[in-house]
């Protein structure tokens, strides 16, 4: 872009609210405020992400995950990622407007940490469902793919739990789709690094940051990992696989 066209672009930004490209498939990752083109007009020119609501009450995942944990996890931890992400994006945009490359680079780790936190938790809430509503096992295409890869759902779960339990420090265990090979993979990620950075499509994530289980399970991460499969929303995992598959 030439200097002149950039100047026009800047002027245009000052007078019209930004319109973000609307994703063609509704996804929990779309910034809440911008998914409706009518609403987009009322937002500021800064991209603003919002905390998604949980698809169930705070107590709905008991006894596997307590209401206390769900409340803190959603209202404090996830909310903080969203707030910090927005703050980092604002600073990034300000630096970008001034062509301050160093300023932009300085915000990149905050965007990765907090953006990753937002991406991961947005998926996580949909991956879980109250015990009474959960189907006990995957079915259809997902079940087939799991059996192809690990022989059985039980074998998949024990492999997943072994790898996820062994994560040093804070991180996530993922079931992901390798689009190139069309195969499912178990892959662990450190900190809040999104699975996409490993080249996989996230289908099911289990948070093993201590805040996800400590109040109930203390240091017994394996107990948490054993219990959580009672509330995994296999339907949601299957939907994600369908959406991601060619």
């Amino acid at each position: 872009m030439s200097f002149v066209s950039k100047a026009f672009a800047r002027a245009a930004r000052a007078f019209t609210p930004a319109v973000r490209p609307i994703p063609s498939v509704a996804s929990p990752l779309a910034p809440g405020v911008f998914s409706d083109p009518m609403v987009a007009g009322f937002a500021t020119s800064m991209q603003s992400y919002t905390l998604p609501d949980l698809p169930y009450d705070y107590a709905a995942l008991e006894p596997v995950i307590s209401a206390d944990i769900m409340k803190l996890h959603h209202q404090k931890h996830h909310a903080a990622y969203v707030n910090n992400l927005n703050a980092a994006l604002e600073k990034y945009a300000a630096a970008e407007a001034k062509r301050d490359l160093q300023g932009m680079i300085q915000q990149q780790s905050a965007i990765k940490f907090n953006g990753g936190g937002h991406v991961n938790h947005s998926i996580f809430w949909t991956n879980l469902t109250p015990k009474g509503q959960a189907s006990s096992a995957p079915s259809g295409k997902l079940a087939k793919a799991i059996e192809t890869e690990w022989g059985s759902v039980d074998k998949f779960i024990s492999t997943f739990n072994t790898q996820t339990g062994a994560i040093q420090g804070s991180g996530w265990g993922w079931l992901g789709l390798n689009k190139e090979s069309g195969r499912l993979q178990i892959h662990t990620m450190a900190n809040q690094d999104p699975l996409s950075t490993a080249g996989l499509v996230p289908l099911l994530g289990i948070d093993v940051w201590e805040h996800a289980y400590y109040l109930q399970y203390k240091n017994a991460r394996p107990d948490y990992l054993k219990a959580i499969w009672q509330i995994v929303n296999w339907k949601n995992v299957e939907e994600r696989l369908t959406q991601a598959s060619p």
């Binding site: 940490f113 040093q168 420090g169 450190a190 900190n191 805040h211």
Partner: protein, 223 residues
């Protein structure tokens, strides 16, 4: 009163070289750091987390050449992985318990105070910077006050997960603050900044001073 380990002999006590590592006693009672850090936290943090690192380490060195190494040797020679993680966490946590004390906290005196003011301008500036580093460390890790033998200054560094300043020969650790969530979640939930306030009320300046003098003594002997 409590045992003050010298930096040189600071390691997990072993009865003889071929025996396993032992979880050292806490330098104080489990309720001694209350209300800043609760007895419940120490029961889990010391009694479960630290103990598990020791157990894991013993299982990993058993019937291997590492069995005859000191803890520091293992930390300095192990490649990234479970052996390093468990050994480093054993060491880090022992250093952490000694970095805290009942009836401590506040501001330092003596040589450590002079060094802090010399390198940070004021104690208040140092305190803010340390808190910022500790609170701002993303995910699990540790915040350290170290003496940097290259710059000859006291500095604040952070390490990630099981990372320890022991692996960097220019850093001499003086104090540490554990910022893994298990260190503060029972007492402060997600409010890590509030936990740092508690840490400032417990910080064991005598231990820091002792560690600083140990480094000076080492240097004096070398020269």
């Amino acid at each position: 009163s409590f045992i003050r380990p010298s930096l040189i002999t600071f390691s997990i006590f072993r009865i003889c070289r071929s025996m396993s590592f032992v979880l050292p006693d806490l330098p104080y009672a489990k309720d001694a750091l209350a209300p800043h850090i609760s007895e419940e936290t120490l029961n889990f943090h010391y009694g479960a987390h630290h103990r598990t690192y020791v157990t894991n380490l013993n299982n990993l060195v058993k019937d291997t050449p590492n069995q005859d190494k000191s803890l520091e040797e293992i930390i300095r020679t192990a490649s990234p992985g479970p052996l390093f993680n468990n050994a480093a966490q054993v060491w880090n946590h022992t250093f952490y318990w000694n970095s805290l004390a009942p009836n401590a906290g506040g501001e330092p005196q003596g040589a450590i105070r002079d060094k802090i003011i010399e390198n940070f301008g004021s104690f208040e500036t140092f305190k803010q910077e340390f808190s910022k580093k500790a609170t701002g460390h993303f995910a699990s890790g540790w915040a350290w006050l170290v003496l940097n033998s290259e710059t000859k200054k006291v500095e604040i560094v952070d390490t990630h997960d099981a990372g320890t300043v022991l692996t960097d020969p220019k850093y001499h650790p003086l104090l540490t603050c554990d910022v893994w969530e298990h260190a503060y979640y029972i007492d402060y939930r997600n409010a890590r900044a509030k936990y740092l306030d508690a840490w400032w009320s417990l910080v064991n300046w005598k231990f820091a001073e002792h560690n600083l003098h140990a480094v000076y003594e080492l240097k004096r002997r070398k020269s």
